[in-house]
Amino acid sequence: MEKITDYKYALDESSIVAITDQKGIIKYVNDNFCNISKYTAEELIGQDHRIINSGYHPKEFIKQLWTTIANGQVWKGELKNKAKDGTVYWVDTTIVPFLDADKKPYQYVAIRSDITDRKKGEEDLKKTLKEISDYKYALDESAIVAITDQKGIITHVNDNFCNISKYTAKELIGKDHRIINSGHHSKEFIKELWTTIANGKVWKGELKNKAKDGSVYWVDTTIVPFLNTDKKPYQYVAIRSDITERKKGEEQIKKNNEKSIEHAHILELKNAQLVDFCNIVSHNLRAPLINISMLVDYIEQSEDEDERKEVLVKIKPVVNHLMDVFNELVESIQVKQDTEIKADQIMLEDCLEKVLRGFETQIEEYEADIQLDFHSAPIIHFPQKYIESILTNLISNALKYKSPDRKPVITIKTKKEANDLVVLSVSDNGLGINLVLHKDHIFKIRKTFHKHPDAKGFGLFMTKTQVEAMNGKIWAESQPEKGSTFFIEFKNQHI
């Protein structure tokens, strides 16, 4: 008997104990019960046990509890109860029915322990877990997600990743992440990415990736390293969004800009040509016209027959000169208007052979040394008649303005350069041109720089016109008494 009293004491001390009759009317509560429910024993005894019902559990749950204990069986479970002040608490509950001789319960002993803290922890955890799974859901729905291990082996991809990369999850998992590498980015760029995330830092940037079918797509990418307790990344989560359309737009804008700049440049060139043309009309056509008009005036006013005759013979050469300038202008305008002229494939060696044949006599007479070097670019694309005319003019100049002190050495070579450019150069060791004085004029019509009977000032003008008609460039380097080099840059030489 003493032992039972000891047990009861131990139970009262350790647990929350209540006894109800078979109808659920409270007959006994211990101090622990009063403490947790915040009722006094007086307030509880004689009351229905439902006084501490929180209303949290469904009817079926409570019904099952009562069925169990009414059938004389022990019920175990977790209950949420309500204290007097309305706060709730969780108790781990064991209800033991005490049976009479007919095996009918005549009272129920409920032994409880407070698990409110544990329950709260569980609830918080559940809430957090739910939140996390909501986040994951939101992320999976909205973004392209992949997870790799620390070596870059894919361990997880979501549907969006599969859709954009055109691989199935099966094809991706276990593969190196480089499977979608487009090769667009530089080694340095990729290295910087890996260094960042391997150091546990978040990397953000725009990546061009390649899908299974070879098409490429742009993704705005954030890679978050997940760190272990040693702060070492054990996996990387890559979250991406598709920015292909935006990138396409950007590329288009860039292309359009480049085109605009090119058009503006061509327009500028055309404008400069127009200004040149106006100057030519103003200087070179007006001058002989004035001469004719002055000569005619003079003849009209003169009363001396001999003088009239003397002046009259001067008209013809001026008319011839006017005719020459006029024909040259027409020729240059034809080049400018002939924008549709097709580029031919020119074997420079053959072309030079043909051009040099026209200079055979002079080359022999001057003992000129002609050196050719086309190994860097043996072929150019340019209209045949233009290149022949250009080379003829440049070689003719090199021979015409040779130094009286030395035999002419003329070097003609080509050099292949970046951006599909080829530069052709013609160098001589002749008289040279003082570029400090004549820089602005060397390619202008009717400009001459040496006293030579055949100097007309048309060759370089025409050469420049032909080069620029094909959007090329021409320039010169020269030193008096040393020689000159003319450079021509040919565009769009896809070789």
Binding site: R286, A287, K451
Partner: protein, 133 residues
């Protein structure tokens, strides 16, 4: 009638030189007409004679478009030379160019008295020379 001693024509245009010389000779107000075919020849002459006041001209009629050294280049060099010249020389540009750019450019050069557009009438020539006297 005022008379001057020397007039220099710097012009490669044979016809213009021929007719201008004739016109001036008819007026008999210029003792000597010197001709240079380009700026460099004229410049060298002036350099060689910069203190030789007797052969320096009172007036230069300068063309713009010439080979070897054109009128602008001549003016650039002459501007450097001017402070050491033994005599004040009046320079007129005589050009067939009607380009407003050329005319505006000429205005910026203080050594140039005026810009004359060819053709130049005999009366105008006489006027210029009279103004000097």
């Amino acid at each position: 009638m005022n008379r001057i001693k020397t007039l220099i024509l710097v012009d490669d245009d044979g016809i213009f030189v021929f007719l201008t010389r004739k016109a001036i000779e008819q007026t008999k107000i210029v003792e000597l007409v010197e001709v240079f075919e380009n700026g460099l020849d004229a410049l060298n002459f002036l350099k060689e004679n910069k203190i030789n006041i007797g052969v320096l001209p009172e007036i230069i009629l300068l063309d713009l478009s010439m080979p070897i050294m054109d009128g602008w280049q001549f003016l650039e060099e002459y501007t450097k030379l001017n402070p050491t010249m033994g005599k004040k020389i009046t320079i007129y540009i005589c050009s067939s160019s009607i380009s407003p750019d050329d005319i505006a450019r000429a205005k910026t050069i203080s050594e140039v008295t005026d810009y004359l557009i060819k053709p130049i009438m005999k009366d105008k020539l006489i006027d210029l020379i009279q103004q000097l006297g």
